[in-house]
Symmetry: D2
Subunit: 379 residues, 4 copies
Amino acid sequence: MKWIINEYPIKELATGEVLNLKTYTVHGSPGPHIHIQASVHGAELQGNAVILHLMDLLNSQKMKGSITFIPLANPYATNNKIGTYTYGRFNPVTGHNWNRNYVDIIKESNFNIDEFAKENKDYSWGEIRSKFKAKLEIVFEKYVEDLIQSKKLAENNKLNLLLQQLASKADGILDLHTGPVATRYLYSAEYQEQVAYYLKFRHVVVIPNEFGGAMDEACFMPWIHLRDALKKYKKNISIDIESFTLEFGSEETFCMQNASKDVESILNYMKYKGLLEGTPDQIDSHACRLKNFRTIYSPKGGLVDYHFEPGQRYLKGDTLASFYNLKSIDPKDPIVSCRSKVMAEEDGIVINRCPSSSVHQGMELFQVMTKLEEHGAIK
Amino acid sequence: MKWIINEYPIKELATGEVLNLKTYTVHGSPGPHIHIQASVHGAELQGNAVILHLMDLLNSQKMKGSITFIPLANPYATNNKIGTYTYGRFNPVTGHNWNRNYVDIIKESNFNIDEFAKENKDYSWGEIRSKFKAKLEIVFEKYVEDLIQSKKLAENNKLNLLLQQLASKADGILDLHTGPVATRYLYSAEYQEQVAYYLKFRHVVVIPNEFGGAMDEACFMPWIHLRDALKKYKKNISIDIESFTLEFGSEETFCMQNASKDVESILNYMKYKGLLEGTPDQIDSHACRLKNFRTIYSPKGGLVDYHFEPGQRYLKGDTLASFYNLKSIDPKDPIVSCRSKVMAEEDGIVINRCPSSSVHQGMELFQVMTKLEEHGAIK
Amino acid sequence: MKWIINEYPIKELATGEVLNLKTYTVHGSPGPHIHIQASVHGAELQGNAVILHLMDLLNSQKMKGSITFIPLANPYATNNKIGTYTYGRFNPVTGHNWNRNYVDIIKESNFNIDEFAKENKDYSWGEIRSKFKAKLEIVFEKYVEDLIQSKKLAENNKLNLLLQQLASKADGILDLHTGPVATRYLYSAEYQEQVAYYLKFRHVVVIPNEFGGAMDEACFMPWIHLRDALKKYKKNISIDIESFTLEFGSEETFCMQNASKDVESILNYMKYKGLLEGTPDQIDSHACRLKNFRTIYSPKGGLVDYHFEPGQRYLKGDTLASFYNLKSIDPKDPIVSCRSKVMAEEDGIVINRCPSSSVHQGMELFQVMTKLEEHGAIK
Amino acid sequence: MKWIINEYPIKELATGEVLNLKTYTVHGSPGPHIHIQASVHGAELQGNAVILHLMDLLNSQKMKGSITFIPLANPYATNNKIGTYTYGRFNPVTGHNWNRNYVDIIKESNFNIDEFAKENKDYSWGEIRSKFKAKLEIVFEKYVEDLIQSKKLAENNKLNLLLQQLASKADGILDLHTGPVATRYLYSAEYQEQVAYYLKFRHVVVIPNEFGGAMDEACFMPWIHLRDALKKYKKNISIDIESFTLEFGSEETFCMQNASKDVESILNYMKYKGLLEGTPDQIDSHACRLKNFRTIYSPKGGLVDYHFEPGQRYLKGDTLASFYNLKSIDPKDPIVSCRSKVMAEEDGIVINRCPSSSVHQGMELFQVMTKLEEHGAIK
């Protein structure tokens, strides 16, 4: 197996140091290309452990195709400490969420996809796919060059556009994240839901085939646009390029032992994609449409006792969390007098929760899956 | 003159304290209503000094109509210190820019404005305006109540929706901000550009009649929607409700002496609106369309020497700023070897600049007006 | 049982709100006074849960003496969010650790303790103790008043001096803290080590009878000074006033169920002090002198896999943590090539560890007890 | 002139990058050695501009001796942005002020200075000075090595000890800082006060010959200890090694034009030290003992209107600043009702002030020189 290492400068700091992305690409015999990146949110570390295990395993495997690994895809964010924690979810200068700065490149670049569809509709899907990837490459280069020339390349764009550009050649894009305090879960677009189950996550959030600024969306949108454009010319294709966000547990944690299990998710997907030999399998999962993946915002401020851990199911009427307002204690009945409860309004599963018990009104308390759909035999 | 003071709880903190908005409303004889708020961005303080002067002046004036003042409209943000500076531009928990969380209420609430237009098209504009304000009030109340019931009232919504709701009754909305290190300038929508000049700012940025999340837009959008809906029924109206963002210099500064001049802007607008007697006048101004109001992002990281101050004009080819990279000094020619320059690509005026000389690549260096349009005799 | 509630203003914020301390004091029949405070470090919350349980239990008990509870003793710090975590260990404006701002009041105030000892040496210890407490009260009041008059009352002093002053009347002071990610442990001064074991912590760090800026020290130092002064006049007394720092697990967590066990520690101490009836008992514990309570600073930067959890014992030669440098991966042997290990140099127990796996060189990795001393039958 | 460039690794970041110090040393003909560093506090930038000008000038001068320049002496701190400002005064992880982590190396290392004095008392001062510098070098190396071996080399020590060690060979140490919003001023120890005036600052704060954790003190303390030790053996020497902190205006600013004047201060000192030819001169200055260099802490919270700028004199009774509490406005008399004033209690000069007008109770409002002593003809 052949490895190629590249480095890309992404941010010159005030003191003159330059932060780089380092990409590690492994090539087997011809086959599909997979793009795997971790830690675009600076505190979300577990994906790096998964990458290390995967790189390790590939050295002793026969592989078709190629994979590009980008561990620590946002070093500025991972290095940004305030206190002992990592202030890595959004840019500390601008507030922009690092995973909402990507672009719907087909729209933004004014690339004429209709024309492309018209010109290429009679080719095979394989040929169209190749040509479109090549086009995307050029479109990105021009788009970035224009921003540089006009000094419009902002703080965040550079990193996000580079990642998007690198991923534009891939047949599978895996963006490795974590939640705050979280169980493992997966975001999948509707068009690829059936493939999603090969990633073997027990919890799957199904999102629309639409753009909202995130990496997974930015990577599948060109193909959605292409599919829609080809349809106008009576060419119906089924997109065989996937783009997922994988949430590997809680932020601020890095555990190689857990990663040795986490990696099975990606190995199975590689079998599905034909990079590795063997028959991929699926596990029983819960799916949940995005509109039913609910954020419960804190109705009050206070100290919070969380009663359900991520991954746990709860029923309508359960007390999800108790709030204690320490400024309104009646000492004759101290616990009850200052306590209020957040009750579940319908059945669900806690997917993640706020990592602190000190909570202001309006902060995100929980994200929960409701109106669960069962995939496989799961109950 | 009669003053009414109200308090609105906006955020219960983790320790149980509740932050409030305090509104001061003054009533003269019947007439239009003006809404004036300051410091939605926590570090932008000068508007409060302007409010104090204006409140003071009104006690010795004859006034028609009414004004609601909301100084320190975002106490959570103004109190948020990291170091000696105020981390007040965006929510420190979520990264959301405090002035991008407003909603296009007509759209979001699914209020049927077409039906409203149809039903009311035969009334006079004055009657339609009254009815529409009353409707907006109800729409806001229901919208907020629904969010509370479903625990979707997030960190930021509560404040922003309350401000929007309070402003929905106004005939003029003035949102007082400042830039980072900045000259005084004004944002005006296109539809009200001719009124804007009564605010007597030397620099006017003209924005489209569209929604982008800011207070000024959130306040004029219902009227834009109403105008468009009425047009379908052949009722052509000219919107006489204005909504502006006034930028009173630099953040972190509060100067009563400067405010005694700043207040003339609003006094003149009050004359225009008929709250005060007298003939309003205009000054010579520069206007600039939003697309020509350019942010110059830093092409490099380094220590920056700014060569133009806010308010200064520059010509194409001028050196706007010099960057010094202290890690690449050739000691034989230290200054030249580590310096690079940011040149102006076209004529313009510096409106604001980054308040620090320590700058990472991609940060906002300057905002500049280009392709200046002269209003009045200005050159 | 009679409860008295007091409120003390401690900080007027920029926007005009005043943060207060609220104290809850319960009085039984005559007896000693205990002072219990929590959350001087803003993110250290569990002590508040302990206080709630204790307040609750006291309502159904017969108690001698009195207790003052101060939950959320530093609301400014608890409310200070940067991201979802609480930036509560030190003042965000000045960097001062909130638990290092107390004063050695006898020294700082120039109170002539020699004279006091000389004048009072012939009284009984009980009488001396009373008189000294009364003196301390006056000394504090004058000390604070002088600071106010000379505008030297800084950001931090006000809170810290107030807490110290309130505690100066107590016969037992319990300052409730937590570690970062930590097991439960106790700080005790040498002079009171035998009493410490009544608090039933499995891990006890024994500190010298000296001043280092912390609350526990600030509260016992006057008595150390008094003992030393009396000794000069041949009056040997044994200090029966204790001051401890209790570390109840990890920061950012608040769990009432755990608190129902944590409270047993304080109940047992209350028996020892005679506030509650019953015979206090002790548990087997590990003790460790402060000089053997070691901080292991990170010898490198990297992503860290922690191999021991707080509370776990390890042996010399064990790998405490592994560092992964993701910028120096050899893809042919990815895991080994980028990994380095932090080995234990002697046997010990992990007491707490850094709550993040993203670690810069020089950050605190672990605090460990070494050269363990067994108290009781513990092995 | 010969330049030597060195690089010293000082901090490996979590993502594997290593931050370095870069030193630029210029050698002329034999003579004294000067150490000049800038930006130990990350936001204090102007010293770097001074260094660039000085390096530039030296290329066209005849110089005796040598100078080591360390621009951006704390890259971690300079790069640390929260919002657009630089959070560079203290370590964001630990809260330690970057200029309070130095050590009194003679004390900390247990170096037996008495023995050294005894052994060397009969040598000439020049010889003793040489031997002592050589000793210091060894002492530092061993001290750091011991910390590394025992994993006690914390976050901050590494940088501070390296800077101290590099400076230990110097005959003059200039630590370039700035204030928050500040005029130019100088800290000088008592023993070197007469030399201080050659640095030509208009404002001089005279500090005791004692250790408080700062670089200037850390660098002169070994010589103070040596002088005191020699005195015991009847050897009276006058220390001819100086160590100053130079405050070049306000933080966050970098201005080459101002630096071209600032540099004259150091050029004049170089003449005094004999590195450059020419007769050094002095300017009329104000001096002030440290105990009279007063910090005025904010007696209230509120929005602040500062009435004196740094460098301005004021008289007893002047209003230094006005506070506006926007939560307690009486609208009938809005300005007066919410305003309170901070009056000067004695004559003085404002040296620096808080850079924000949003101020919590207890924050540093001003630092002022009082009880001015005139040096030269100044009034």
